[in-house]
């Protein structure tokens, strides 16, 4: 256990850490067993003297609230789509695919409940969507006034299943990226919050894979694979969501220069093999057109 490294983690999460208000007990709680094992609480005492330290907790709660916001977004997207059409008219999501999308919707709803409980336990108020009127604890997280998933009639998702799928794929890929973008705020956490967010991110990746494969089977013109190839988007109006996905540099290493025996790794495989994080600012800019 490298104690210097733990301090480094906190410093990375919050560059102002050493100047900041600090309360030793609070910090120690955040550090958890790592600090206990390092067995240098006195050293800590001298570093964080009379002030209160709360930024790490704030960072974690903020990251979780941002992810919660995205979960509400997705749940409402799927809930609306599953409720569009009827057996007597035409269902937006056809019978053959409804079990898959119901499972996906269920995962998003479970994430909302899990995140609300986790944030609440931290003593922070969980995010609730703008214009949501029901009781956020007991009510269904469905809130139609908060979203316009057509982006003011730019995407005709309710009339055309393929358009819905193109947007669904883009949202899921973006969620994978958004969650990974929040990990740096969770590194100082020594309980299972970091792990929980990772576990949610792989569920979002499963969703993305499912929807991409549906589109592939339906003959989508971009011939999507279950994974993201370079920065390929379903169509031109969605390319911004895929910027930087063609990155092939990992930990400063250009993966395309590596070989395994005679086997080489091309840029396509190198880009597909790694999903790429997006910052909160970028994600907010991308989804703003769907918010009311």
């Amino acid at each position: 256990m490298n104690f210097k490294n733990i301090l480094h983690q906190i410093e990375q999460a919050d560059p102002e850490v050493y100047e900041k208000q600090s309360d030793r007990r609070n910090l120690l709680r955040n550090l958890g067993s790592k600090a206990a094992m390092a067995a240098v609480p006195f050293a800590l005492g001298s570093l964080f003297t009379t002030k209160t330290y709360a930024k790490t907790t704030d960072n974690i709660a903020n990251a979780l609230n941002f992810i919660l916001e995205l979960e509400y977004f997705q749940y409402n997207f799927y809930h609306t789509a599953l409720a569009t059409g009827s057996n007597t008219t035409t269902l937006l999501i056809p019978a053959a695919d409804r079990d898959g999308f119901s499972m996906i919707e269920g995962h998003q709803k479970a994430h909302i409940t899990f995140l609300r409980n986790t944030i609440d336990k931290m003593g922070v108020v969980p995010f609730t969507p703008h214009l949501y009127t029901a009781d956020p604890v007991t009510g269904n997280p469905y809130t139609p006034p908060s979203y316009d998933f057509t982006a003011h009639a730019k995407f005709h998702i309710y009339e055309d299943y393929d358009t819905f799928l193109a947007l669904a794929q883009t949202f899921e890929d973006t969620m994978v990226r958004a969650y990974q973008g929040q990990l740096s705020n969770l590194l100082a956490n020594t309980n299972d919050i970091l792990t929980a967010v990772l576990r949610m991110s792989t569920v979002e990746a499963r969703h993305a894979s499912y929807i991409r494969n549906l589109r592939r089977d339906r003959g989508a013109i971009d011939i999507p694979k279950p994974w993201v190839t370079l920065n390929a988007a379903p169509n031109l109006s969605l390319i911004d969501f895929y910027l930087q996905e063609d990155n092939v540099i990992q930990k400063g290493i250009d993966v395309t220069t590596l070989t395994d025996g005679t086997r080489t790794i091309n840029a396509t495989a190198a880009s597909e093999a790694f999903d790429e994080p997006l910052t909160q600012t970028n994600v907010n800019a991308l989804i703003a057109q769907f918010l009311l």
Binding site: G100, N213, I265, D275
Partner: protein
């Protein structure tokens, strides 16, 4: 010296010879012997690495080659047992994965090696009824595992384990259902391995790196699941009532992977 010669003649196999001298390396009492054959030891490392490739490239001979290597190794060890057992602390056929972050990265490398070997073989002897689309994506899955593998090796540098011999006979490659069930088991396990390893890293830069690889494994898992049965991207065993994918301790994953691995690893310092 008599012993060595005897074994060479008995097995007629450089791998037996090299593994014999590898055993001697740990034994200070016979260091004069070692100095003579240091060159042979270097060759043995290369041979071990090469045998993995042989196994997958010569599809039809795969199991034979694998079994022959194993017998050769076992013979070498048995032959030298009397001579060397009194002076080495760990079994010579055991590969030490290291400790801390090195152990965790080597552990992920083992996971990736198994997947790479299975997909390499699957591409050579694909299941019946495979479509063009499935063939293309199966090649992708193989290439992704290689990308992960080479990056982990590069990051580990000289700490990387070099000789992972996998057991490919676990899978009936010609049978779509059997192949997919194995693929699903391994991909779901890889997801659980990546999710479980994150909080154990001391250097948190590795968390940010491996998270990017975890989601790719999840894409693979969901795809193989879809090929087996539509709308089965996950199930209640894999994703719990909180909507969370699995995260497993390294040792749990390692034990689940054991049937696919022939190499014996010393994981005594793998973070619990």
């Amino acid at each position: 010296m008599y012993y060595c010669t005897l074994i060479v003649f008995t097995w007629g196999n450089t791998i037996a010879l090299s593994s014999l001298f590898y055993n001697f390396k740990a034994c200070s009492k016979i260091s004069p012997l070692l100095s003579i054959y240091r060159g042979a030891n270097n060759i043995s490392m290369k041979l071990n690495m090469g045998s993995e490739n042989t196994q997958v490239e010569e599809a039809g001979l795969m199991h034979n080659v694998s079994r022959r290597n194993f017998l050769a190794l076992a013979g070498g060890i048995a032959g030298v047992g009397m001579l060397a057992s009194s002076c080495r602390r760990t079994p010579p056929d055991t590969v030490y994965v290291g400790k801390g972050d090195v152990a965790l990265l080597n552990f992920l490398l083992i996971v990736e090696e198994v997947l790479a070997a299975v997909y390499t073989q699957a591409n050579l002897t694909a299941y019946y009824g495979l479509t063009k689309s499935e063939l293309d994506l199966m090649a992708d899955m193989r290439d992704h595992q290689y990308a992960h593998k080479v990056l982990l090796k590069k990051v580990l540098g000289t700490n990387a384990i070099t000789d992972v011999t996998t057991v490919l006979s676990k899978v009936t490659y010609a049978d779509k259902t059997d192949f997919l069930k194995n693929s699903i088991l391994l991909e779901d396990l890889a997801v659980a391995a990546y999710n479980g390893v994150a909080k154990r890293f001391t250097d948190t830069n590795y968390v940010l790196l491996t998270a990017k690889m975890a989601t790719l494994q999840a894409r693979h898992a969901a795809y193989s699941r879809e090929l087996l049965a539509h709308n089965s991207l996950a199930d209640t065993v894999i994703v719990n009532t909180d909507g969370l994918d699995r995260a497993m301790a390294p040792i749990e994953v390692y034990n689940a992977l054991a049937p696919y691995i022939q190499t014996k690893f010393d994981i005594s310092n793998l973070p619990a």
